[in-house]
Amino acid sequence: MGVITEKTPIAKIKPVRFLLNWGRRYSLWVFNFGLACCSIEFIAASTAKNDFIRLGVIPFAHGPRQADLLVVAGTLTDKMAPVIKRLYDQMPDPKYVISFGSCSNCGGPYWDSYSVTKGVDQIIPVDVYVPGCPPRPEALLHGIIRLQEKIRDEDIQEKFRSGTTAVS
């Protein structure tokens, strides 16, 4: 299992690494986790005007088990925190997380609330933060492009050898 990527140094050879990263970054299937107002902006980014399918990101995965990208759009409350942890765990590796909007970055306008988790990175590791309240759909496209650049420069062996799925 994972012979090429985990056990042998083949994945470090430049052409192989380029090929694997290229395949991974242009075929993201997003499990959108729309919680609040930011999910409307996410949906707007999936419509025809600002289309993120042209970046290779296919929206509306049928469940966490068929997704590689989790976009947390909206306020994460304390009651919802174990749910998102469970869904993140059920996604197959390699997986990436985009935190979309102020509420999931840091608690946003509800930073002093009794029931809000101040930032989804307290629960799951985040790769790209997209700021805004709510961010424009173009900001999501920018965030996806940043994620794709991050995956391009990624060493998948180091990612899994370190034991966590957070990329340095």
């Binding site: 299992m1 012979v3 694997l20 966490p64 998102i84 942890k85 469970r86 197959p92 590796d93 899994f160």
Partner: protein, 124 residues
Amino acid sequence: MQSVTYYGSYGVVLAVVLAGALLVIVAFGAARLIAPHRPNVGGKRTTYECGIDPVGEGWSQSQVRYYVYGFLFVIFDVESVFLFPWARVFQSLGYQAVVSMAIFIGILAVGLLYAWRKGVLTWV
């Protein structure tokens, strides 16, 4: 000459089967080689129920009324299996083939009429 084309057509079938098997082997083999293997991290193996702990059993019951669909499908599917090779060759066989097949379809049409009159085709 005729025996070569006879086995030749089976050769085509074999090639198609091999191509299909090769496709599956390459796809799953590549996934095995490239994909990381992390089966037991966190709650990955738990049953999916929108992120909360699953409640109740995983089995659900189907309604018995759906058996009618399976039943009718089998009958008319077998009929169409006989129709396809007949359609390929009947033009060279003359009117006798048409009449035989018409009798065959007629018998099955009587069966369909019986099912219709029995009310099997209306939803309950």
